[in-house]
Structure formats: C-alpha cells, structure tokens
Amino acid sequence: MSTDDVAVWLYAVIGGEVADDRTGELTGVDGERVRHIDGGDLSAIVGTVHLDEFGEEALRRNLENLDWLSVTARAHDAVISAIARSGPVLPVRMATVYLDDERVKELLNTRRQDFLAALDLVTGRDELGVKAYGDLAALAAGGNSAPQPAGEKRSGTAYLMKRKQQLTAHEKAHSAAAAEAERVHATLLRHAVDGKQRPPGEPAVTGKRAWTVLNGTYLVDRNRVPTFRAAVAELQETTIGIELEITGPWPPYSFTGDVVSS
C-alpha cells in the first residue's frame, strides 16, 4: 500500500458557525493538522490520516498494541478536549474513519437532526466521572463481627463457625458498599442533568482491599460544577468504608448517544 493512500479520521461534530476559529493549530492522531468539514449548521472535526497506519488491517493490528493505543487515544482525546474548550462538542468514538470528505458530509446530512439535538443536550455542560472504591476491611468491620468465644478449642466446628462469620461479614460488606454506592449515585444525580452507572471493574483484579462499587459519570451544568464537587466532598465525609474519586471535567463522551440512539 502506498503511503499516499489516505482517509479521514473523525474526531467530533460541532455546530457549524465558528468552526474555523475552533480548530486552530491542533495536531491529530497521525501528526496531521486538524481541520473541519463544513456541513452548514454542523461541522465535522477531522484529520487526514494514512491508511498504512489507520486503514482497516492496520487498525485491527494497532488497537491490540498498548503503546500505539495509548498514544492514539490520548491524541484523539486531546483534540476533542481542545475543541470542547471553545464550545459544545459531540465527541466521536475513536477509530471512526471515512474514505473521503464527501462521505463525512453525507453523514452530517443524514444525521443532522440527531446531531443538533445531541448538541443541544450537551451545550453548557461538562461530564464528570465519580468512582467509589469500597474498603473491604473497613466495611466488614462496620458489621457486628462477633468476638471469638474465649478459650474455645480449635475444633472443626469452631473453624466452620469462624468461616461462616467471615463469609457473613463479607456479604455484609458487599451489601453495605452497594447501599452506599446507591446513595452516592442518587445524591449526585440531584446535582446533575443526567447520570449513568458504567460497569464497575472486575473485583478479582481490583485487589483484595479495595474494589470499585460505583463507576458513575454525570452530565453537569457548567455553573453547577463547583456545587457538584462540593457534594462529592461532602459525601466523602459522610460515607463509611468508601473512597470517592472524581475525574474531569470531560467532554461529554457518555452523553452523546442518548439522543442519537433513541
């Protein structure tokens, strides 16, 4: 394949009016100058990329390469974040590639209403991620772990009793964590326009002492972001056995599909 073979990598969709000012001097995933494709009241933020790295075969191979993936994911996110600083943006999932500009224009035309509605939804809003990590030890201790009867022999029965107690404490810790996570999510929803729970990480690999009990993400009015942060801090103070972590503000990655898919 010749290195002249190129395609169009799509980063985001934005409103059309000021697209020129918004792309500025951004550099994209292939080191290319980021540009826009005019579609009337919508614009697509794109870059011209080489097929030998971003074609179908190459992508399939490269996506399995953690180094390539991490550099490309950061570059893709960097463009979207930069665009987001100057106004509403619909981030596009990484690795969405078109043959040429005409195909992108077709996309803007056929999905115009969806995109405009989605832009409305995210205008003036940011996404904030909140994860809650449960501390197994602290949560288990929160339950009433009955003290070991004094002077008891280490008989089989005693072992089984103890084992049962441990299991009960474990179950209690899990249900306590789930309840706390639910309370955190419900509270944060009151400070957000919308919120979702994503699948939490695998308990088996998030370690023995901490596991993810909530992986939430929230669409928040920009002027309410400080209030939202304060709510997270306050929840941290009042929540037992849970450590909260907040990330963002992000471009509204998790809230672009709602209008489109419905």
């Binding site: 960097a78 981030p91 690999v205 056995g241 672009t256």
Partner: protein
Amino acid sequence: MTFADDNFAPVPRTSSGGALSSSGGSTNLGDILERVLDKGLVIAGDIRVNLLDIELLTIKLRLVIASLETAKEVGIDWWEHDPWLSGKSSELQLENERLRARIEGLEAGNGQREVIEARRAEPEDVD
C-alpha cells in the same frame, strides 16, 4: 464504628480546576480509554473495525490497568501478608534449599562418576 482515617482522602483526589484537563499526560489512561473506546458517538465509518474486538480489548486493558493501579495504591506488598501466598512461598523456599543442598553434594562427591558414565555411554551411541 470508627473512621479508619488512613483510608479516606478528605478531599477527592483529582485536583483539576476549571479547565478541561483530560488531554494532559497525567490523566489516567484507563479513564481515557473507557471514554474514547466505549463512548462518544458510535457511527459506522467506511473503514470497518470490529467493535466487538475493541470492546474485548477494552475489558482486557481495564483488567491490566486496574490491577496495576490497585497494586500501587494498596501498597505493592499486599500479597506478602496473604497467609496462603506467604505459606506457599516459604514452602517453595524450603524445597529450593533442599535441592541446592543435594546439588552441592552431587557436585562435591560425584564429579568423577559423571565422567565415567559419560564415557561408558559412548559405545552405545556408536551402535
């Protein structure tokens, strides 16, 4: 019930102020991948990449990243305090020591015999 204060950061860990900060190199790769691979507008491009493959990959990465970060956060040595693991490792250590002692014995006393045996083996190879 008491607060185990070591385990709780009184203030959420992320420090970012107002600006969109996700482009910075410091942002957790897992958080970025979770968004750029799982979320955003999902549109079928002209160049087809199997989305299922990507999702599987994301999950795999999530596992790796989560385990690395957790190891870092909870202290890299947590497994050393695990009775099952530490019991296992000391057993291995004992076996290792036994084997080493045997090897030393063999090397010290029986080097001669090895040579003889090697010579005796030669005629058979010729057959």
